[in-house]
């Protein structure tokens, strides 16, 4: 693959790949690692993908799988990232967003932190990607019933958490 094609592909998809990894992992450092690894994998597998749609589909699947694999890494990494993010992180520049929106985003983040990586991955595929239960089951290699029960649990928990916080 030539440099300009790869550069363009990265620019078009890096936000989505990063946000996917961050949504599942809840750690910017780990998400950044997954993003780099995903694009490295894309660079080596690009020739096997025959269309732009195939590249996007492949990227989405690989980003989710790599994030779920990264979530299973050892406790040292999680502890280190927890310490690094909570103690040493600097607040991002949020621009002109309202205080209320910031609060809601923060609460949503807290709510997501309470879910397992698998629950977050299913929530992402259904609510953000809009995939069908069958497609999610295929990607997660589990039954449709499992997808539905996990989705039910994830939604219920997020909703209850946000409602409790907003009281």
């Amino acid at each position: 693959m030539d440099s300009s094609t790869f550069d363009r592909l990265v620019k078009e998809t890096k936000g989505w790949v990063f946000a996917t990894a961050y949504h599942i992992l809840r750690s910017r450092a780990e998400a950044e690692d997954v993003m780099q690894e995903t694009f490295l994998a894309l660079y080596t597998h690009y020739d096997t993908l025959d269309s732009k749609e195939a590249v996007y589909r492949w990227l989405k699947t690989v980003a989710v799988n790599k994030s779920l694999n990264a979530a299973q890494r050892n406790i040292f990494v999680e502890l280190e990232d927890f310490v690094a993010e909570r103690v040493f992180s600097t607040p991002d520049d949020g621009g002109e967003r309202s205080v209320y929106a910031d609060q809601m985003m923060e609460r949503l983040q807290e709510g997501l932190d309470r879910l397992s990586p698998e629950h977050r991955a299913i929530l992402l595929m259904r609510e953000i990607e809009g995939l069908s239960y069958e497609d999610i089951a295929g990607k997660m290699k589990c039954g449709i019933g499992t997808v539905m029960s996990r989705l039910f649990y994830a939604r219920q928990n997020i909703r209850k958490f946000l409602e409790r916080k907003n009281r």
Partner: protein, 138 residues
Amino acid sequence: MNDPMKEKIAAQEREFAPFADLLKRKFETDAARSPEVDIAAIMAGTLKKRAPQRRRLLFRPALVVTLLLLLTAAAALLYRPAVAPEALPPLPRLTFDDAERLINANKLEKVTILYQSGRADIQTDAPVPMVWVRKGEN
């Protein structure tokens, strides 16, 4: 899947719509704040884990030392003897004759005889904690 379950899930999906919208907005915000991809390193085949690697170098030794200290403290608490040995007074040792005299004088309330490597130890609780004699002498 049965109908009541389907309805329950559909109802939940409808009620979750505002939260799903919030999720989408958060996702877009995260996507807008994505870091740069190291395209040059990927194409050159020299990509290494970056930010976490640096942090791991900083935190791993500290984390390992802290965990070791915690484990040592926990082990010390678990295996600590009920009473520290150095707090006990040294046990007096008597010859068989002295021990016999004390026993005959009813000054020993309880006598326990222990055999250890060719010797017989007599252990008492009052007034002398322990006496010892040669094996066969008693």
